[in-house]
C-alpha cells in the first residue's frame, strides 16, 4: 500500500464540515449537518434509506454541490462541488455501486486512477505494475494484473475498488455501503483491511447499514435521520445498541406495548381466523439465485390471505427486490413453490400470473411502472393487451376473484340487439383488430376514477407528476379484477396528499377481499397499514410481528440484531 501523502496535523480533524444543507426540489436531503471526524480513526455513518448518507458522502467527495455550508479536508477548505480539489486534499471515495469498467484489466483500472510516478506524463507501465504487485496479491485467488475486472469475484472487485481509491495516495477514505454485496467472510476481510489502513494513519468514513458491522469495526458512529445529524460522532464505547436503534428509526413509538415476536423461521400461521380465510398468495420454501445487487431468497415461507395487508419491512437490498420479482415471475426460483389462489405458479409465465389476478405496483414507477414516452392511454391499457385470449382459454373466471368497482353499463345485453348490430358485436369479438376509441375511453374512465389529472389521453406519461404517475399505475393495477396486489415502495417520493390516496386505495382493496403484500422501507407506513409484518434480512424472513408494533424490536430485526 502506498503511504498516505499528507495526514492531517495533530488536532486538525481529517474531515470537517459546517451547516451543510442540500435540497432536491422540495425534498430536504441534508439539513444543517456539522461533523468533525478525527484523523486516523474509523468512523461509521448509519441511517435509514433516504436519511441522507449517500448525499453526505457525495458532498464530501465534491460530487454534489451543497446549497449551504462548508467542507474542509485535512484543514483545507474544499470549494463547493470540486472533485479535483477534494482529491488533491487527499480524499478518495469508493462508491456504492462498482464503478470500474468491466472490460479493463486490473492494471488498466489502477492506471486510470493512479498518481503517476514523479508526476510525469510519460511513465513506464512496468514501474506502476511493480508498485501494484503487493496490492494485487491482496485480491486473493488467481487474480493478476492482467485479469479482466468482469472475471473477478464480487469480493475481489470490492477490494480492487479500495485499492484503486488508495492508488490516489489518499489520506481520507470514504466508503459508501461497501458491505452491501459481501458475504460475511468477505466483510470480515474488508474490516481487517480497514484496520490495517487505520494503522497506516488513514482516516476512514464508512456508510453501514447493519449495527453488528458498526460494532465490529467502527471507533465512532454518527446517525443521520431525515437529513439531520441526530447522533454523534459518538465513541462506540459510549452508545448502546438500543440508543442507536432509537436514533435510526426515531423514538416516537418506543413506549408502545411490546408485541409478540414469533421465533424466526417458524410459519406465519395466525392462530385465529384461518378457517374462514383463504390464502391468495403462498410461498413455501422459496429460494432464488443472488442478483447483481441483492442476495437471493433463502427458504422464504410467506402467506397472504384474503382481506389482509402483509407488510415486508427491511433495510433495502435485503432481498425485497428478489421477493417481488420471483412473485411476478420475472426471475426464476431455485427451490420451493409459489401459489396464487389454488394454482401452482412457480413456473408460470408473468402474463399468466397477471391474468390469474396478480397485480403489481413496481419499485421504480418511472422505469418499471410506466413507459415515459408512451401515451397515457397505452400505459393504462397494458394489462388489456395481454388479457384477451389467455383469460378465457387458460383460466375460466373464478368465484374467488375480487371484482373491481364495477364499470356500470359496460357489459351490454346482446339479446336486445338487432341482427345487424349482433353481427357487428360478433365481428368485434372475432376480429384481430381493436378499437382504439374503446381502448382510449376505457383508459379515460379508469384514470378519471383514480383521479389522474391529465389534459389528453394521448399525452405522454412523462408529462405527469410523480403522484399522478402513481395514480395512473393504480388505475391500471387496481381497476380490474384482482386477487393479490404486491405494492413495492408505493408512496416513495410522493407528497402528503398522494401518499394518503395510495394508502387509502390499498386499504380499500384489502377491505374488498384482496390480499395485499406491502414492501416498504418506511416503518411508519408499514405500522399504519399492515395487519401483519415480516422482516427481511439477507434474503430471509427473520421475524414476524403482529400489531401493535414495537419500533425498537422491528428496528433490531431490520439491522440483523435478531437472528
Amino acid at each position: 500500500m502506498t503511504a498516505p501523502s499528507g495526514p492531517a496535523p495533530a488536532g486538525v480533524p481529517a474531515v470537517h464540515c459546517r451547516s451543510l444543507g442540500v435540497s432536491f426540489g422540495a425534498v430536504r436531503a441534508l439539513h444543517d449537518v456539522s461533523l468533525d471526524l478525527a484523523a486516523g480513526r474509523i468512523h461509521a455513518l448509519v441511517g435509514q434509506n433516504g436519511a441522507g448518507k449517500t448525499t453526505l458522502a457525495k458532498v464530501l467527495g465534491g460530487l454534489q454541490t451543497p446549497d449551504s455550508g462548508t467542507v474542509s479536508i485535512a484543514g483545507r477548505e474544499i470549494p463547493h462541488g470540486d472533485v479535483r480539489a477534494a482529491k488533491a486534499a487527499g480524499l478518495a471515495m469508493v462508491h456504492q455501486h462498482f464503478s470500474l469498467p468491466p472490460s479493463f484489466t486490473v492494471a488498466e483500472a489502477l492506471e486510470l486512477a493512479a498518481v503517476r510516478p514523479g508526476g510525469r506524463r510519460v511513465y513506464r507501465r512496468a514501474d506502476l505494475h511493480r508498485r501494484w504487485q503487493a496490492d494485487v496479491a491482496e485480491l486473493g485467488g488467481a487474480a493478476t494484473l492482467s485479469t479482466r475486472i468482469r472475471d473477478l469475484p464480487v469480493e475481489a472487485r470490492q477490494s480492487l475498488e479500495i485499492v484503486r481509491a488508495l492508488a490516489t495516495e489518499a489520506s481520507v477514505l470514504l466508503l459508501d455501503e461497501p458491505t452491501a454485496l459481501l458475504t460475511p467472510a468477505a466483510t470480515d476481510a474488508l474490516f481487517e483491511r480497514l484496520r490495517r489502513l487505520r494503522a497506516d494513519g488513514v482516516t476512514i468514513l464508512v456508510v453501514l447499514h447493519k449495527l453488528r458491522e458498526v460494532a465490529a469495526v467502527a471507533d465512532t458512529v454518527s446517525v443521520l435521520r431525515d437529513g439531520e445529524l441526530v447522533l454523534g460522532p459518538a465513541e462506540m464505547s459510549e452508545v448502546s445498541q438500543g440508543q442507536l436503534s432509537d436514533a435510526i428509526v426515531g423514538s416516537g413509538a418506543a413506549d408502545a406495548a411490546p408485541a409478540g415476536v414469533s421465533a424466526s423461521g417458524s410459519g406465519p400461521d395466525s392462530p385465529s381466523g384461518t378457517a374462514t380465510r383463504s390464502a391468495l398468495l403462498e410461498m413455501i420454501g422459496v429460494s432464488s439465485a443472488d442478483s447483481a445487487f441483492e442476495p437471493g431468497l433463502a427458504a422464504i415461507d410467506l402467506r397472504v390471505d384474503s382481506g389482509e395487508i402483509v407488510g415486508i419491512a427491511g433495510v433495502e437490498g435485503n432481498g425485497q427486490r428478489s421477493l417481488v420479482s420471483v412473485i411476478a415471475g420475472l426471475s426464476p426460483l431455485t427451490a420451493g413453490s409459489v401459489r396464487i389462489g389454488d394454482d401452482e405458479m412457480s413456473a408460470a409465465a408473468p402474463a399468466l400470473r397477471r391474468i390469474r389476478g396478480l397485480r403489481l405496483v413496481p419499485f421504480d414507477r418511472n422505469t418499471e411502472g410506466v413507459s415515459q414516452s408512451a401515451p397515457l392511454w397505452l400505459n393504462q391499457s397494458a394489462l388489456r393487451l395481454i388479457d384477451r385470449h389467455a383469460r378465457d382459454v387458460v383460466y375460466p373466471p373464478r368465484r374467488g376473484i375480487v371484482h373491481a368497482v364495477a364499470p356500470a353499463g359496460s357489459e351490454r345485453d346482446d339479446s336486445k340487439l338487432r341482427v345487424g348490430e349482433r353481427l357487428g358485436v360478433r365481428w368485434r369479438q372475432l376480429s384481430p383488430l381493436i378499437s382504439l376509441r374503446q381502448f382510449k375511453s376505457q383508459a379515460a374512465t379508469a384514470m378519471d376514477r383514480w383521479r389522474v389529472r391529465y389534459d389528453n389521453v394521448a399525452q405522454p406519461a412523462e408529462s405527469l407528476s410523480g403522484g399522478n404517475i402513481q395514480r395512473l399505475i393504480l388505475s391500471r393495477e387496481l381497476d380490474s379484477d384482482l386477487e393479490v396486489l404486491v405494492a413495492a415502495q408505493p408512496t416513495r417520493g410522493l407528497d402528503f396528499a398522494a401518499t394518503e390516496f395510495v394508502r387509502r386505495s390499498l386499504r380499500a382493496r384489502r377491505d374488498d377481499g384482496a390480499g395485499v403484500l406491502l414492501v416498504s422501507s418506511d416503518l411508519d407506513e408499514l405500522f399504519e397499514l399492515s395487519d401483519r409484518l415480516a422482516v427481511m434480512y439477507g434474503g430471509r424472513i427473520v421475524a414476524h410481528f403482529d400489531g401493535p408494533y414495537d419500533r425498537r424490536a422491528v428496528g433490531d430485526a431490520m439491522t440483523g440484531a435478531v437472528r
Binding site: N366, T367, S373, L436
Partner: protein, 347 residues
C-alpha cells in the same frame, strides 16, 4: 397533432438544407446548379417515363422502409434490408427457374412466399442473437447484409449463372415472361395494388392490433413491458420476422417486376436508402410513403442526370448521403435529449 406537424416541418427543413449543401459543393466543383436542379426535376418528374421510374424505385424503398419502421416500433434498428432483399430475390428466382413450366399465378405466389421466408430467416438470426445474447443488431444485421450480397454474387456467378450470358457482369437467366407482373418500367396496376394493400396492412398491424400496441410498449420501455407480463423476447422476434418478410417481399417484387433476372450487385442502394426513408418518414407509415416517393424520385434522377449533364453519377448519391447524415444526427440528438430528460426526471 401539432407536434407531429412540427416534426414533419423540421424534417422538410433538413432535406432543403441537404439540397443547399449539395448545391454548394457542386457549385464549388464548377457545375451549374441551375442545370443540375432542372436535371433532377426532369429525371424525377417531367422527362418521358420519369415519373414511372420514380414510382418504380419508390416501391422497393417503401416495402423495405416499412420493415424498418416495424423494427423501430419494437425498439430495434434493422439496417440489413439490403441482404434480406437480395435473399428474397434469390429465393423467388430459384422457385421461378426451377418450376418454369408451372402455372404462373401459383409460381409467383410460391416464389413470393419463399422470398418472404428467406427475408425472415435472414433477419431472424440477428434478431435471435439480439434477444438471446443482447448482440447489437445494428452490427449483425449489417454484417448479414454483406453476407447476403456475397451469396448473391456467388449464385449469379456460379450455380445460377446464365451459361449463354455475355458481358462483364455475372447474371442469371431471365424468368419466363409469363411470371412477370410488370413490363420493364417496373410499374403496373397489380404491383401498385399489392404495395398499397401491404402498406395498409402494415398500418393496421402497427396501429390497430394488440401485437402492434405491444410492440410499441416494448420499444418504448422494455423494462416496463416485462413488468406488465409481456414476453419481450417473443415480441422482438416477431418484429424482426415481420421486418425481414417485408424486405424479402421487396426482393420478389423486384424480380417479378423490373428485374426479371438477377445481376451481381443489382439495386445496390435500396436497402440502405430505405433506412433513411423510414427516418425521414418519421417512422410513421404514411410519412414513410411520402418519403419513399421522394427518394424514389431522387433515385430516378440519379440515373437520369448523367444523360443531360456532365455530372458523374456519385454526385447525387452525395445528396442522398447528406439527407441521411442530417436526419440521423437529428434523430440521435432527439433520442439523447429525451433519455437525458428521463434520467433527470427519475433521479
Amino acid at each position: 397533432m401539432t407536434s407531429g406537424l412540427r416534426r414533419a416541418a423540421s424534417t422538410v427543413v433538413l432535406v432543403v438544407v441537404s439540397f443547399l449543401i449539395t448545391a454548394l459543393i457542386l457549385r464549388v466543383s464548377g457545375y451549374s446548379t441551375g442545370e443540375v436542379l432542372s436535371g433532377i426535376i426532369q429525371g424525377a418528374i417531367t422527362a418521358t417515363g420519369a415519373s414511372t421510374s420514380s414510382i418504380r424505385w419508390a416501391i422497393p424503398l417503401l416495402l423495405i422502409a416499412l420493415g424498418v419502421v416495424i423494427g423501430f416500433r419494437a425498439g430495434f434498428f434493422n439496417i440489413g434490408g439490403q441482404g434480406q432483399f437480395y435473399m428474397g430475390a434469390c429465393s423467388a428466382l430459384a422457385i421461378s427457374l426451377g418450376w418454369r413450366d408451372g402455372p404462373a399465378g401459383l409460381v409467383i405466389l410460391c416464389g413470393t412466399l419463399a422470398a418472404m421466408l428467406a427475408g425472415v430467416l435472414w433477419s431472424l438470426f440477428p434478431g435471435w442473437l439480439r434477444v438471446r445474447f443482447g448482440t447489437d443488431e445494428v452490427l449483425t444485421t449489417l454484417m448479414m447484409s454483406f453476407i447476403g450480397a456475397l451469396v448473391l454474387q456467388y449464385l449469379t456467378a456460379g450455380p445460377m449463372r446464365n451459361p449463354q450470358g455475355t458481358g462483364q457482369t455475372a447474371a442469371s437467366e431471365r424468368i419466363p415472361e409469363a411470371f412477370r407482373l410488370t413490363g420493364g418500367s417496373g410499374v403496373s396496376l397489380t404491383v401498385l395494388l399489392l404495395v398499397a394493400a401491404v402498406t395498409v396492412l402494415v398500418w393496421l398491424v402497427l396501429e390497430r392490433t394488440r401485437f402492434g400496441l405491444t410492440m410499441t410498449l416494448v420499444g418504448r420501455n422494455a423494462t416496463m413491458a416485462r413488468w406488465q407480463g409481456i414476453n419481450v423476447r417473443r415480441v422482438g422476434l416477431g418484429a424482426f420476422a415481420l421486418s425481414g418478410a417485408l424486405a424479402g417481399l421487396a426482393g420478389a417484387v423486384e424480380l417479378y417486376g423490373p428485374a426479371a433476372r438477377l445481376v451481381t450487385g443489382f439495386s445496390p442502394e435500396v436497402g440502405f436508402t430505405a433506412v433513411v426513408v423510414a427516418l425521414v418518414g418519421l417512422l410513421n407509415v404514411w410519412g414513410t410513403v411520402v418519403a419513399a416517393v421522394f427518394f424514389g424520385g431522387l433515385q430516378a434522377a440519379i440515373l437520369f442526370l448523367p444523360i443531360v449533364t456532365d455530372l458523374p453519377p456519385p454526385a447525387l448519391v452525395l445528396l442522398n448521403g447528406m439527407v441521411a447524415f442530417l436526419v440521423t444526427v437529428k434523430f440521435r440528438a432527439v433520442r439523447r435529449r429525451k433519455a437525458a430528460q428521463a434520467e433527470a426526471a427519475a433521479s
